[in-house]
Amino acid sequence: MDGTGVKAMMAAVARAVIANVDQLSEADRATGDGDHGVGMRRGFEAVLEALEGLDAATPEQVMKAAGSAIMARGGGASGAIFGTLFRGGAKALEGRDRLDGDGFAAFLSAAVEAVKKRGGAAEGQKTMIDALAPAARASAVHASFAEAIAKAAEAAEQGVEATRNMIAATGKARSLGERSLGHIDPGALSVSIILNAMRDCAAKT
């Protein structure tokens, strides 16, 4: 997939996140402060604006522009985390004029590392990392772009479900302790929504 394709894909991702604003906020009401959806909407509305101003860009430039837009306008924990996801992942795409399966796997694992570094959280602490990290591992199968994304999306969905059985150890949900059991992590759900949107795009091409 070339830069133009990645740009179209990221626009679809943004529309998907924005469309799920209520579901994401509701998930955050259960464990946090109820604003995850509106925060992600701010970030991805900024992504749509940024993409418009961007023509003939490489995959790296598209992802970096998206991450920078989220970072600049999202706010809250998710603004920093999801901004870091795309900005950190973009670095792995340097010099690639097309996004293929391996490139996408590299993108995800770089994204995971960047997010861990930024937030200091590890897997198992009931955060978006618990969807992102498994997705990164699942995509490292030296397969086509479409297959790699499909695997990642599937792993992320399982990751979201897995957060139900985790006790929050960071963010606003932390103080729930045991009571966070049974609820999914809103940020993990966002990761899954993002990867599903990517998968649907890749399938179409």
Binding site: R29, R42, S175
Partner: protein, 334 residues
């Protein structure tokens, strides 16, 4: 679930409109930068160590309302309950910087920590020195051995008051940091929620409580507390809150403290004063004396009903900065 009723225009424009009204309410003392959430004082002297505070909106008058004499030089404000983005923080920091570095002071939350840290990295690249103080006064959030897991709640007011005075009088950022850390290390708070606040954008309360329930230890964004229980008399609730505060530092016989009873929004001053009566009975029993008392709504959680109790142990230096007159839209003291 009844939809909360609020006097707003477009809920998605609530924060920018609020900031516009706030700048006007400051009668010319502060201005707003292009990065909308960045508010700065107009009269910051050259060579002053700068104090920048900030965090999510929705807690007014903290943070955006505490810019002024012997208080903050600027504030970086995010959307409701959302930390400000790095660019807002960076813009505010550059505008308040007067060559002596910028002290960041904010509540300890993942979102604030990450966004302020990113801003600090950007500013370092530009050669602007920053120091970071995270307020962690909520004893309900985590045990003492996990201080970094504690939230910053109403103690923010004391931290801003002390750091603001220090930043106004001390020439060296390391000294300002030392005084601010001392204040932060000597304060402890505990809150209780009676009914929820709501987010303007979603129109939904951040939690639900039964008609006869309260939650002791709940955070200022509706984060879970230590105990959900039936409503009991004011004295009993106060006893439940003061005990863990005293135990934690610990505060001991002979200590002199500043006392803050912070209304989270919709509780009445009458309730706060009835609580103050009981707090003083308990402190008298423990031989702890109160140097100054503050009762009011400074760190709110939208229309949440409930309050928090904060004690800060004082020494001569902290008393000095507490006693400095200070002036701002949201907090003025003599």
């Amino acid at each position: 679930m009844r939809k909360p009723k609020k006097i707003l225009n477009d809920p998605r424009r609530a924060v920018p409109e609020m900031l516009e009204g706030l700048v006007l309410a400051n009668d010319g003392l502060i201005r707003q930068l292009d990065a909308l959430g960045a508010l700065v004082r107009n009269d910051i002297p050259e060579g002053k160590v700068a104090l920048l505070i900030g965090g999510g909106a929705g807690h007014e008058p903290i943070f955006s309302g505490l810019i002024g004499m012997n208080l903050a030089d600027g504030a970086a404000c995010g959307e409701v309950f959302a930390a400000p983005p790095p660019e807002t923080i960076r813009a505010a920091a550059k505008a308040v910087h007067r060559g002596k570095g910028v002290v960041f002071l904010y509540g300890n939350y993942a979102g604030d920590n990450m966004n302020f840290d990113i801003a600090a990295e950007l500013l370092a690249e530009e050669g602007i020195e920053t120091r970071t103080i995270r307020v962690r006064d909520d004893v309900a959030a985590a045990p003492p051995e996990r201080m970094d897991d504690r939230r910053g709640i109403a103690g923010d007011l004391f931290a801003i008051k002390i750091a603001g005075g220090a930043a106004a009088e001390l020439a060296d950022i390391a000294e300002v940091e030392r005084v601010a850390r001392k204040a932060e290390a000597n304060m402890r708070s505990m809150g209780v929620a009676v009914s929820p606040g709501s987010l303007p954008e979603t129109g939904l309360p951040t939690f639900e409580l039964g008609d006869d329930e309260i939650e002791v230890g709940m955070g200022a964004h509706g984060e879970a507390g230590v105990k959900r229980q039936k409503l009991v008399p004011a004295d009993a609730i106060t006893d439940q809150m003061v005990a863990p505060i005293l135990r934690d530092l610990p505060f001991v016989r002979g200590d002199e403290v500043a006392l803050l009873i912070n209304n989270l929004g919709a509780s009445t001053m009458m309730e706060m004063l009835i609580v103050n009566r009981r707090v003083r009975q308990l402190l008298d029993q423990e031989g702890i004396s109160v140097y100054r008392t503050y009762v009011g709504a400074w760190l709110t959680s939208q229309e949440m009903a409930g309050f928090s109790i904060t004690l800060m142990r004082l020494d001569a230096e902290l008393k000095h900065y507490l006693d400095l007159p200070s002036f701002s839209f949201g907090f003025t003291s003599q």
